[in-house]
Amino acid sequence: MLKTVIPFGPQHPVFPEPLHLKLVVEDEVITEVVPALGFVHRGLENLVHLRDFQQMIQVVERVCGICSMMHAMCFCQGIEDLMRIEVPPRSKLLRVIWSELHRIHSHLLWLGLFADSFGFESLFMQFWKIREKVLDINEATTGNRVIVSVNVVGGVRRDLSAEQMKWMLSNLAWAEDEILRLETTLLSDYTVQKRTIGKGVLPREKAFELGAVGPTARASGIAQDMRMLGYSALDQLDFEPVVETDGDCYARSRVRFHEVIQSIRLIRQAISKITEGEIRIKVKGRPEGETFSRIEQPRGELIYYIKANGTKNLDRLRIRTPTFANIPALLGMLPGMWLSDVPVVVLSIDPCISCTER
């Protein structure tokens, strides 16, 4: 059979963002994949020369449309590290609460899109119904639905009152009930299993070799979760990474599903441990030196490299996003798959192209 090259993307019904894959197929079976990126490059890293380090918080929040809070938090942690600032304990816990809310809504978005990728529209609607409640919590507590803009160097901009925490917990209890009701549909349904089990298998050794991160690595049995580093207030909270061993699309959906439940429990723990106190300290001076800042984004490990020279503008900012690390893993999963399985496998790594191209 002759080889045929089929273009997949950048415009495709399953893609929320533009990713182009050249699929080399032989009798509808993929033999080779060549990715092409660069459709949404915005040059945000270079803005460090035009905006000062405080204004850059608003810029890095716009790197990603889903996990904006994590980007700002990672950047602020890097700057605080350079300026040797100790953030107040209350603001550390508040950062954890909002970052876990972001993880919940990002995973719910993914679970919906994943259901949509194999044509299960009603399950997509059910997950997005729950996500809407989480976005309402974001809006009521931070002032915006997705780009929450709460982080500043030295703490957070908003505080949570006791009533808000109570309201948040009652809404999260509702969300947990609703998510658990969908567990049997997502994880035990015959059609869902038929489309996901054994598709896009990434064995543990290969995941390690290709440098997979986040839920993609955890679904292949690598217990790597940057939250275990204990940044912010995560060292005070009790949790274990969610790990699966099969390494297929089904395992990746299981990992993300259980991480939603885990994040809700982390928020409960954080709220139970929160103490009164200030949320923001005054920052004087300018950063100098270079640092790496790492946190766990919904899609995996996020790395910020910051180089500062003692002026208000940074010298260099480099952002390594999790999808960038997961694209080699994706290319390793696709050969041997049928053409009809490509949307499910591609979505299983949760590609975030805006993040990758910055």
Binding site: R51, Q58, R62, D136, E139, A140, R181, T191
Partner: protein
């Protein structure tokens, strides 16, 4: 499919998750970062908002006493509201209504509002933009 059936029955027996939008509008939450407005009578035209703004959507001319705001460049982060020493900048809980044309809002030292129109916009929309 059969695993979804209990959910379908549950959804049929419970209230709808959606609203009939133009008829039923959810009230805005408190302290939402919505539309930005300047109480020009309080404004000292110091220009701190223009310096702090990450999207550079505010221009202040202290000599002429003019405050210009490009609401299409604004990202509604609320940094200017926090930084304003005269407390003349505020954000409403409601979001801006969509506009038919790109426009900037110019406020002069006298409490007098002038909107520079680049394209013709419906009258009720331009009233909203004045707020």
């Amino acid at each position: 499919m059969f695993k979804m059936t209990p959910n379908i029955i549950h959804n049929l027996l419970h209230k709808k998750a959606t609203r009939r939008y133009p008829k039923v509008i959810r009230p805005a939450f408190e302290n939402v970062r919505g539309a930005l407005f300047n109480e020009v009578a309080k404004c000292t035209f110091c220009g701190i908002c223009a310096i702090k703004c990450p999207s550079q959507c505010i221009l202040v001319d202290k000599k002429a006493g003019r405050w210009t705001y490009d609401l299409f460049a604004c990202v509604f982060c609320g940094i200017c509201v926090e930084a304003c020493p005269a407390e003349s900048l505020h954000q409403k809980s409601a979001y801006h209504l969509p506009l038919a044309g790109r426009e900037t809002i110019t406020l002069n030292r006298e409490p007098k509002l002038k909107i520079e129109k680049t394209t013709k916009i419906p009258e009720e929309r331009s009233n909203d933009a004045k707020d």
